[in-house]
């Protein structure tokens, strides 16, 4: 076999970057961010994690009167592996918290969480030993929809706000150190 020879061309030199030069994403990558953000925002597949009364309001939102499908949430996949938006609707008991965490961990990036209703946001009216006082004690939440239960229009408003967040999110966000620090606070790798 012919021995391998590497290019020993010494004419290649490296130079330092001069000051005041714009370093950042170029034009094409920001446009790509916009396109991908638009695509993600308009096809958020929800994973309903409906426990109690807010689940019924969510069912009403999915129905034909307050259609959620017109916002891109046509396919309610009930599997965390295929959905990007976790909708926690209802009271989460302390015994249910590890299960909710497990469902969140099974979702693939990018994933967002909407806490629907007072009980999911903060424990709601149930200030007791058995109710988790807000799901943000176990998983990071993006949008909170207040109400007991919130009207379907309110849930739609929450989804629209999430769409705005998703549209403006940078592709690099999930690798950024702040995101890693956030997940670390919850003990999620």
């Amino acid at each position: 076999m012919r021995p391998v020879k590497y290019n020993e061309n010494k004419k290649v030199t490296t130079a330092d970057l001069p000051e005041n030069v714009y370093t950042g994403e170029g034009f094409m990558t920001t446009k790509l961010d916009d396109v991908i953000g638009l695509a993600r925002a308009n096809s958020l597949w929800p994973l309903p994690f409906a426990t109690s009364c807010c689940g019924i309001e969510f069912m009403a939102t999915m129905g034909s009167n307050y259609d959620l499908a017109r916002f891109g949430s046509e396919r309610m996949g009930f599997t965390p592996r295929q959905c990007d938006m976790l909708l926690v609707a209802g009271t989460i008991a302390k015994k249910m918290a590890p299960i909710l965490r497990q469902v969140y961990l099974q979702m693939a990036e990018p994933r967002w969480v909407i806490a629907i209703g007072a009980c999911a946001s903060s424990g709601g009216i149930f200030d007791s030993y058995s109710v988790l006082q807000g799901i943000d004690q176990v998983i990071p939440v993006d949008v909170y929809v207040p109400g007991c239960p919130p009207r379907p229009e309110g849930i739609l408003d929450g989804v629209i706000k999430l769409q705005k967040i998703v549209k403006n999110e940078s592709l690099r966000r999930r690798n950024a150190p702040q995101y890693k620090a956030l997940l670390n606070e919850y003990g999620i790798q």
Binding site: K94, Y129, Q137
Partner: protein, 165 residues
């Protein structure tokens, strides 16, 4: 069979039943805790009484009764003749032991686990007396009446957001 006849027939069979009451028309009697299976088995087998359905099994905590704080309550129903009965058995809170009814009524299995979970009543010879509705690591019995209204040591609520608590 109305309540008076029922009371007659129960007193003749079991003379240790006491504290007869009829709140809202439901005949209620108190039995000593050691004899609970004797009474339950007796009214199950008796062909005239036939209390073969356990409607409810729960407990109450009376912190002011000394040596009788926990009261285990059985609600029984005779489905064929539509007669209902309530039996109470008082237990001291230091040693709340009572025999399990799950050998006689399979419905008592989970009801006794719930009663253990919330009041700490120890059912002897229960097949799996562990917490059922609360978190397994909980070390107190929530439905007992010995806790203050607001717990200043709780860590799961964000104080700034909720002002008082």
């Amino acid at each position: 069979m109305d309540n008076q006849q029922l009371k007659q027939s129960l007193s003749s069979k079991f003379d240790y039943l006491s504290d007869w009451e009829e709140p809202y028309g439901l005949l209620t009697a108190t039995m000593p805790a050691a004899k609970n299976m004797e009474v339950l088995q007796g009214i199950f087998d008796d062909e005239a009484l036939k209390f073969r359905f356990l409607t409810d099994l729960t407990a109450v905590h009376f912190p002011d009764r000394k040596d009788e704080e926990l009261c285990v309550v059985y609600h029984l129903h005779n489905l064929q003749d539509n007669i209902r009965l309530r039996l109470k058995a008082y237990l001291p809170v230091e040693a709340p032991d009572i025999h399990t009814a799950s050998a006689l009524f399979s419905g008592a299995n989970w009801m006794e686990r719930e009663t253990y979970d919330f009041f700490g009543v120890n059912f002897l010879n229960h097949s799996n007396l562990t917490r059922i509705l609360n978190v397994d690591e909980m070390d107190y019995f929530p439905m007992r009446r010995e806790y203050p209204m607001e717990d200043p040591t709780r860590i799961d609520k964000d104080d700034e957001m909720f002002g008082r608590s």
